[in-house]
C-alpha cells in the first residue's frame, strides 16, 4: 500500500501543473500582438507604392493605391468578381480533391510496395518538376476548351506533390512504432489505418500545403489560356484586363488572389498547429 501512494506521489510531482485560464484581457493582448505587425506590413507596402506613384514612374500605366482600391470596390459591387471568384475556387477545390484521392492512394501503394516504388518512385518526383503550363497543349488537344481540361491540368500538377508527401511521411515513421504495431498483431489494412496514416500525417499536411500551391498556380495558368465560354473566372477576368490594358483592374484582382492565398495558408496553419499540439510538439 505504501508503494502505491509513493508511486501516486511521484506521478503527481512529475506532471506539469495545469496551465492557468487565459482571461479576456490576455486573449485580446495576444490577438493584438499577432495583428499589428501584419497591419504595419500592409501600411508599409501602401506607403512604398504611393511613393513610387508620386515619383511619376510609368505614370500612364501604373495606378496608385487609391485608384486601384476604388476599382476593387467597384468590381466588388458588380457581382461579376464574386461569381468569378466562386467559379475559380470551386474548380480549385474539385481539382485538389481529385488530386488528393489519387495522390494519397498512389503514394500509399508506392510507399508500401517495393517493386512499385522502384518502378515509379522517381517518375513521381520527375512529374513534380514538370511545369503545369507544359500540360496545357496536351489538355486542350485532349479535352478542348472545357472545365475537364482545367481539372486535368490541376490534377497533373498537384497529385505528384501529394503522393510524394505520403511517401516521405511513411519513410519517416519511427521503426519502434512499426515494431510495436507488428508485435500487437496489426497488419495489412489495420496497420495502414492505425499506424501508417496517422504517423505520416504531419509530413502529409506539410505536403498538402505545397500541393495547394501547385493547384493554385496550375489553375490560374490554365484559366488564362483555357477560356471556357460562359464561365467567368479569375483567370478570364485577368485575360480581359490584359486585352484592355486595364492596370487598376489587374492589380485589384492580384490583391484578391493574394487575400485568398493568405486565407488558405491560415487554414493550413491551424491544421498544422492542431496536429503538433496533439502530439506534444507545440
Amino acid at each position: 500500500m505504501a508503494a502505491d501512494t509513493t508511486l501516486a506521489g511521484l506521478d503527481a510531482l512529475e506532471l506539469a501543473p495545469a496551465p492557468g485560464r487565459v482571461d479576456a484581457g490576455e486573449r485580446a493582448r495576444r490577438a493584438w500582438a499577432a495583428t499589428w505587425p501584419k497591419l504595419a506590413a500592409v501600411a508599409l507596402v501602401w506607403l512604398v507604392w504611393e511613393l513610387i506613384h508620386l515619383t511619376g514612374w510609368k505614370k500612364f500605366v501604373l495606378p496608385g493605391p487609391g485608384v486601384t482600391l476604388t476599382n476593387l470596390w467597384e468590381q466588388a459591387k458588380t457581382g461579376l468578381l464574386w461569381h468569378a471568384c466562386g467559379d475559380t475556387v470551386l474548380r480549385a477545390l474539385i481539382g485538389y480533391g481529385v488530386a488528393l484521392v489519387i495522390g494519397t492512394v498512389v503514394g500509399l501503394l508506392v510507399a508500401r510496395v517495393p517493386p512499385l516504388r522502384a518502378a515509379v518512385g522517381s517518375l513521381i518526383t520527375g512529374m513534380q518538376t514538370l511545369p503545369s503550363a507544359a500540360w496545357i497543349p496536351f489538355a486542350i488537344i485532349l479535352f478542348g476548351l472545357t472545365n475537364a481540361s482545367i481539372l486535368f491540368i490541376i490534377v497533373m500538377a498537384s497529385a505528384p506533390a501529394i503522393a510524394n508527401a505520403v511517401i516521405s511521411g511513411v519513410d519517416f515513421i519511427p521503426p519502434l512504432l512499426l515494431k510495436s504495431a507488428r508485435i500487437m498483431g496489426l497488419g495489412g489494412l489495420g496497420l495502414t489505418r492505425h499506424l501508417i496514416i496517422p504517423a505520416a500525417l504531419p509530413t502529409f499536411v506539410a505536403g498538402l500545403k505545397q500541393a495547394w500551391a501547385f493547384t493554385w498556380h496550375a489553375l490560374l495558368t490554365a484559366e488564362l489560356l483555357v477560356l471556357v465560354a460562359g464561365e467567368p473566372s479569375i483567370g478570364q477576368l485577368f485575360a480581359a484586363d490584359q486585352d484592355q490594358t486595364d492596370m487598376p483592374s489587374t492589380i485589384a484582382i492580384m490583391i484578391v488572389i493574394l487575400i485568398l492565398g493568405i486565407a488558405v495558408d491560415g487554414a493550413f496553419g491551424v491544421a498544422n498547429r492542431a496536429i503538433r499540439k496533439r502530439r506534444g510538439l507545440a
Binding site: 508511486l7 515494431k179 508485435i183
Partner: protein, 256 residues
C-alpha cells in the same frame, strides 16, 4: 480440450540458437549456440555486457527476426516491451491500450472497460485521457506495460524496459511489476533483459549470464530470495556481487 500433462511444456525453449549478421569476412556472430528453457510462470533475467546479443535474442523469441540456425519454440502469445515505450503519440493512453485490444479482435463494447481495468492495474486510473507527451517517463512505461498486458500475452519479453528511468521510479516499477504479475494471476512468463545486475537479482527467479561477442550462456544463477524483495536488501546485494564479479571477469577477457 487440454488434459493434464505429465511434463509441462516449456513456455519458451531455445535449442542451439545462433544468429549471424552479414556474410563472409564482415559477418558478426551475435548469438552462438544458445540453449535456454523457460518454464511457464517463470521470471528469467538475461544479463550480459554490451555485445552479448540480449536484444537479438528477444527479437528472435518475439518472431521479429529468424535465427541463422537452431530452434525456438514459444507457447502462447508474446508481447514485447522496449526501453522506449513506443506508444502512438496521436492516441491517448487509453486509446493506445484499446488499440492492442482491437488488434486481437476484442469486441468494441468491451474495449473501453477492459482498457480502464488494465490502466488501473498499473495504477494509472484517471489517466486514460492523457496523451503520451503529457505523462512522465515512468508513467509512459506503465502505459506500455498495460498495452503489453492487453495483448493477453503468456510470455512477456522486456528489453531493458526501465533502463531510461531514474532510480526511484525504477525501484517503484519493480514493485509494480511484481504486483501486476500477481494480479494477472495466470502465471505470466517473463524474459527480462538488463545490464543492471541488481535489477536482475531483484526481479528474477533465475539470472542467466551471457558472454559477449558472441553471446553464449556461461552461467545460470537461481535466485533463492523470498518475495517481496528489495533491491537494497542484503541477500540481493550478495548474489548481485557474485554475478558482477563473474561478469567483470568475462568483460576483461576482451581487454587483454
Amino acid at each position: 480440450m487440454s488434459t493434464t500433462a505429465v511434463t509441462q511444456a516449456a513456455a519458451v525453449s531455445l535449442a542451439g540458437v545462433s544468429k549471424v549478421y552479414g556474410r563472409g569476412g564482415s559477418a558478426v556472430r551475435a548469438l552462438d549456440q544458445v540453449s535456454l528453457t523457460v518454464q511457464p510462470g517463470e521470471f528469467t533475467c538475461l544479463i550480459g555486457a554490451s555485445g552479448c546479443g540480449k536484444s537479438t535474442l528477444l527479437s528472435l523469441v518475439a518472431g521479429l527476426d529468424r535465427p541463422t540456425s537452431g530452434d525456438i519454440t514459444v507457447h502462447g502469445q508474446v508481447a514485447l516491451m522496449f526501453q522506449e515505450p513506443g506508444l502512438f503519440p496521436w492516441l491517448t493512453a487509453g486509446a493506445n491500450v484499446e488499440l492492442a485490444l482491437r488488434a486481437r479482435k476484442v469486441p468494441r463494447a468491451e474495449r473501453k472497460a477492459r482498457a480502464a481495468e488494465l490502466l488501473d492495474a498499473v495504477h494509472l486510473r484517471g489517466f486514460a485521457g492523457k496523451r503520451p507527451h503529457e505523462l512522465s517517463g515512468g508513467m509512459r512505461q506503465r502505459v506500455a506495460l498495460a498495452r503489453a498486458l492487453a495483448q493477453d500475452a503468456d510470455v512477456l519479453l522486456m528489453d531493458e524496459p526501465f533502463g531510461a528511468l531514474d532510480a526511484m521510479t525504477r525501484d517503484l516499477l519493480h514493485d509494480e511489476l511484481d504486483r501486476v504479475r500477481e494480479r494477472v494471476g495466470k502465471g505470466l512468463t517473463v524474459l527480462f533483459v538488463t545490464h543492471n545486475v541488481r535489477e536482475a537479482v531483484r526481479l528474477g527467479d533465475r539470472v542467466v549470464l551471457l558472454s559477449s561477442r558472441p553471446g553464449r550462456v556461461i552461467e545460470e544463477y537461481p535466485v533463492p530470495v523470498m518475495r517481496p524483495r528489495r533491491i537494497d536488501s542484503a541477500p540481493v546485494a550478495e548474489l548481485a556481487s557474485v554475478i558482477t564479479d563473474r561478469l567483470r571477469a568475462e568483460v576483461s577477457r576482451h581487454g587483454s
